[in-house]
Amino acid sequence: MKRLGGLSLFALAVALLPFIFPDNYYVTVVAVSAGLHAILAISLNLLMGYAGQISLGHAAFFGIGAYTSAVLTTRYGWNPWPSILVGLAFTGTLAYIVARPILKLKGHYLAMATLGLGIIVHIFIVQMGWLTGGPDGMGGIPTLSVFGWTIDSDERWYVAIGVLLVLVIWLALNIIDSRSGRALRALHGSEVAAEMMGINTAATKTGVFVLAALIASVAGSVFAHQQAFVSPDSFSFFFSIELVTMVVLGGMASTYGAVLGAIILTFLPELLVIFEDYEVMIFGGILMGMMIFLPQGLFIGLKDLLHKLVHKRSNKAKQAASQKENNHGVA
């Protein structure tokens, strides 16, 4: 069970981190948000990396989940759990309705359409102030409790989101390694050939689009409860782009790549804060540089690089060895 091996290793690392760095801001705050980003990136990666359908509007579904939870719990006094379910139902329905016409589009047209979808949702969130609090957002969102265990501290959130992340990775790995996962990759590889093998490509695309949206919606609800506050800024076009960047940076069609991308892109700005005004510029430069030099993404890029280094060294060793032999012969 190679799959579960990697996952347990990852879970172990997540579990140990707080013990290695106790009381650390980067662990209890930044890592928690990296975890949420990783969940989003994994969901987007199913759609983009595996099925090959770009989406520049994934933040919309994250936002709908977050706002449904926020509105139902604060304005209508609902319990968080049914709110999350309603968010799921709402996001799923919306995603299902738009999926067919949008996913008929290809390449840059698909990019534009999903981008537009994200911006439309964002504008509605900003404009429907009577419900959403408008640009100022809304606060006072209650926290979650699981079977009486109230998630009321940063440490507990770390645990909760860590568990959720591992669960999402498990789901994603299961899907990829199944009949449906192969169907996703097949339609990425060649849509007509996939159809010819009996795959209903339109339905498959719709399915993965809805699935990705549902995962994003859960992440959104959790985000709302964790932050206790939501504002439209968290769900803008920029965030959609950031999610795409996480996927591509980590390496498309690799679940751990998506996680890596999310971690890097969450920590990088935190680390660049010391550069103050130069932060934006350096961030853009790093992004460009990484994509130019590692277009396959970090996960594969680093693997290749490692491979090459090892290879080179062994080559050198061989050369040295053969040289020695030659010298020997001469002597």
Binding site: R179, G189, A253
Partner: protein
């Protein structure tokens, strides 16, 4: 009853008629070849038979069911599979996974049950893998099973494509120029493979420019030119048909391998 019954088939692209009023019948358990000069409309015909193009007129009945109006995946479900003139490999997967995709119709699981990895999934996975390996061995590809598709030479990929199509256990296999771009040894191997496929009970509709190969493996041959039916019959009849010889400008036909 014929396996495939094509009547009055016509399709045009913006004024150019690619197939005009074509009719033919493919009997069961045969290798039926469709030949014709470049641009005659053979691939277009395949695209209509597989539901990729919708003809302007005519009917295509497969086992007495109408194909016109069906989507390719529905056609596949009816028992037709195909290979492509321009390779349509899933280059993002291994050879084994490519062929496992071919088992799509023989397995049932869904996205949601797969996500939770319910017990039936494991069983199904093992089954699909066994089927895929079996098909790959049948096509003489055991050496390449674990390799990524994008690392293989063209001649091998052509056979992987056939294996993928066979994995769906079709009743009819459409092969669009399986020997194009193959060297002599590979062509001989391909001939053997086509025969074995036919012997295993799968009917084959073959488009091919290599006349030697066509004459050796086909039970019947249909010749089309400019989208129209030029001749139809047994290989010997076609070989001696003056209209066919003329269409190929005499010298272009070479019967020897």
């Amino acid at each position: 009853m014929a396996l495939l019954d094509v009547k009055d088939l016509t399709i045009s692209f913006g004024g150019v008629t690619a197939i005009a009023d074509l009719h033919f019948e493919v009997p069961e358990s045969q290798v039926y070849a469709v030949i014709g000069p470049n641009g005659a409309g053979k691939t277009t015909l395949f695209n209509m038979l597989s539901g990729i193009y919708r003809p302007n007129e005519g009917s295509i009945r497969f086992l007495d069911k109408e194909i016109v109006g069906c989507q390719p995946h529905q056609v596949a479900q009816m028992g037709i599979s195909r290979t492509f003139q321009n390779l349509q490999m899933f280059f993002n997967m291994s050879v084994l996974d490519n062929v496992k995709v071919g088992c799509h119709l023989r397995t049932r699981s869904h996205l949601w049950s797969a996500a939770l990895r319910l017990p039936n999934i494991l069983r199904e996975e093992r089954q699909a893998e066994a089927w895929a390996r079996e098909t790959l061995i049948f096509c003489g590809l055991e050496k390449y099973i674990e390799m990524p598709a994008d690392s293989l030479p063209y001649g091998v990929l052509k056979r992987v494509e056939i294996a993928r199509a066979l994995a769906s256990q079709p009743k009819l296999l459409l092969m669009d120029e399986p020997a194009a771009g193959l060297n002599d040894t590979e062509t001989v191997e391909m001939r053997g493979l086509i025969r074995r496929i036919s012997e295993s009970g799968v009917s084959v509709l073959l488009v091919e420019h290599n006349m030697g190969l066509v004459m050796q493996v086909s039970d019947r041959i249909l010749v089309i030119d400019y989208g129209s039916r030029l001749a139809e019959g047994l290989p010997e009849e076609i070989q001696n048909n003056p209209k066919v010889i003329e269409a190929y400008l005499g010298g272009e036909v070479q019967y020897a391998v």
